[in-house]
């Protein structure tokens, strides 16, 4: 008998709880009308950013292409007159991309970055192939400061050997003195 | 021939046909389905004769409960239909003989019975009439049957009881 009373009590509590929920405001976020602001580091559409001076960051090192688990990134490297490397063409097939973010991790120049823009559904599968002009943006993305050629010890039009930030003068390899 | 007689013959033909199909199917589930149709036809026949209570009970108990139990067992054991001929000759002969005997006796009874010349008309028995008949005239038989069912129930309980571990 005690068990029966306990059971009825437990049932009553359950029913009261669901009944109270009837008068609560639904917690649903209605998607197309309200888009929840996603964290800056959420992984969706990929972009190619520029450095603070407005030049392309990508040096076409192929690291992103190599690390990509679904091989959706391809490019062709070339060199500008000043000695800077760049991608002649750069292509991401978003129909294959799994948004894992490995490319972003691998990138030495913070060029390739994932953004929170996730609304990129299309009907035509061929339109998912993004060329460089579709990928290249006019801002620095998440990394506002970094400018690869100002740090890297590569001689380009940005700086000769020993002129880069935090770089010491090159040493004479015969005497080992600067 | 009244419209009721026509309905009667249609029902009778359906019952004979579905029962025939039921006993000749190799697939047991198909046989059960045809048998259900047959029971359903029988229920309709009861209804036609003015016994709606019997008709409904036929559907509830035979078509509804007993055949579902048949189906249940058939579904649980995977019966492999054997490839030999359905009825061998040595089974056909007695079946045909018995059928013939039934046919002759039935024909004699139908032609000799006093009610056989009456055309079928609509009738309707109240459920109360049926129960009064059953419980006032045959109460002893009913009590004996219910006792039998009780014994079967207790027996099933005894068999299904968990074995004493001691």
């Amino acid at each position: 008998m005690k068990d029966a009373i306990e059971a009825v009590k437990a049932l009553a509590i359950g029913f009261a709880t669901t009944f109270k929920h009837l008068f609560r405001k639904p917690i649903t976020e209605e998607y197309p009308e309200y888009k929840r602001p996603l964290p800056a580091r959420s992984r969706a559409r990929i972009i190619l950013t520029r450095d603070p001076d407005g030049a392309e960051r990508c040096v076409a090192c192929y690291l992103c292409s190599a690390v990509c688990p679904v091989s959706c990134i391809s490019m062709q490297s070339a060199e500008k007159e000043g000695g800077r490397r760049y991608a002649q063409w750069f292509r991401i097939n978003f129909a294959r991309c799994i948004y894992c973010g490995f490319c972003e991790e691998a990138c030495p120049t913070s060029a390739i970055q994932l953004t929170p823009q996730f609304e990129n559904c299309k009907n035509d599968i061929l339109s998912f192939v993004y060329e460089k002009k579709d990928l290249l943006v006019d801002h620095q993305g998440k990394d506002k400061e970094y400018n690869f050629y100002k740090y890297a010890g590569v001689a380009t039009d940005v700086g000769q050997k020993g002129e880069h930030i935090k770089e010491e003068r090159p040493v004479n390899i015969k005497s080992n003195l600067p | 021939m009244t419209i009721y007689a026509i309905i009667f013959y249609i029902l009778a033909a359906t019952i004979v046909l579905t029962t025939g199909l039921a006993i000749t199917r190799r697939n047991l589930v198909h046989a059960v389905v045809y048998l259900v149709f047959s029971f359903f036809g029988t229920a309709m026949m009861f209804y036609l004769f003015g016994a709606p209570l019997l008709a409904v009970l036929e559907v509830i108990i035979y078509a509804g409960a007993i055949m579902i139990l048949f189906l249940f067992i058939i579904m649980m054991v995977k019966a492999v239909p054997d490839e030999e001929k359905l009825f061998p000759m040595r089974q056909w002969v007695p079946v045909a003989l018995m059928g013939l005997v039934y046919l002759v006796i039935g024909a004699v009874i139908i032609s000799a019975a006093p009610g056989s010349q009456v055309t079928l008309t609509i009738a309707l028995a109240r459920p109360e009439a049926f129960s009064e008949y059953l419980f006032q005239r045959h109460w002893l038989a009913i009590e004996i049957i219910s006792l039998l069912l009780l014994v079967a129930l207790v027996g099933a309980l005894y068999l299904g009881r968990k074995k004493d571990t001691s």
Partner: protein, 328 residues
Amino acid sequence: MPDWIFGFIILIVKLGVVLLALLLLAAYLVWVERKFLARLQIRYGPNRAGKFGLLQPIADTIKMLIKEDIVPAAADRFIFLLAPAVVATTALMMFAVVPFGSHLTLWGRQVPLVITDLNVGLLYIFALSSLGVYGVAMGGWASNSKYSLLGGIRGAAQMISYELALGLSLVPIIMLADSFSIVDIVNAQANYPFIIVQPFAFVIFMISAMAESKRIPFDMPEAENELGAGYHTEYSGIRFGLFFLGEYVHLQVLGALVAVLFLGGWRGPILPPPVWLLIKMILVALIMIWVRGTLPRLRYDQLMALGWKVLIPLSLINIMVTGAILLI
């Protein structure tokens, strides 16, 4: 106009109206269920197709109608095609004995507001309900899939078990009304609805009715998370739609039965009788949805224990007590 032609026309009209109302109500009951369940779970429910999602049932119907009707290669074709029809037909036919008013007077003739007043009306509903088990069992078997078969077996076992409790819980009602006819049962409740004198029978009937229509918390035959969708896993398109329709028509019929047997049927002040029946049906449906939104699914042994060890003895005691009081 001869009487029988008039009767025939009236019958056809009544059948058409009731069928249309049942189908429309079944579609919108799905909407009501989704909306109400959503609110119980602090969601909105369908709200995209039309205002408040009111066109959702129509959209769903169109989708089901134009989807491909797939019969699995290993299925038993004949029974596979037959099973959904059995479920839908038996559910629809049950409504034939439910009265939705007393009578109308048309051109000097009385038209009773019930399709047919069988003197074994209640048993007729049980008979159809027990035939409905075939749809579930055969659909599960014919699909030739392990999930469907398990769902079919569970469904058959559950439905024949709870049919007993369902039937026994109504015996006191029959004793009080002195008739199997549902019209007589409604007339017997002219002074007070039977729920006042038979609260136990009401509770037992509600529980068994939920088990009989395979609704959560008794949805073992469909148990999505272990059997896919149980006996209708392999069905698609309109045949799945028929199973779905049968389920919701069954819900309506059981709602109507609760209304007719315990809540006084079409009786009520001011509003016309069919509206009262509708209100009571929807009320019962809402209670069932509330139960669905609250309780988790029972385990199979709990389900059988509840049916055989609790509900059947309780209803037997209820019959004995009612009988004793009636005799005194």
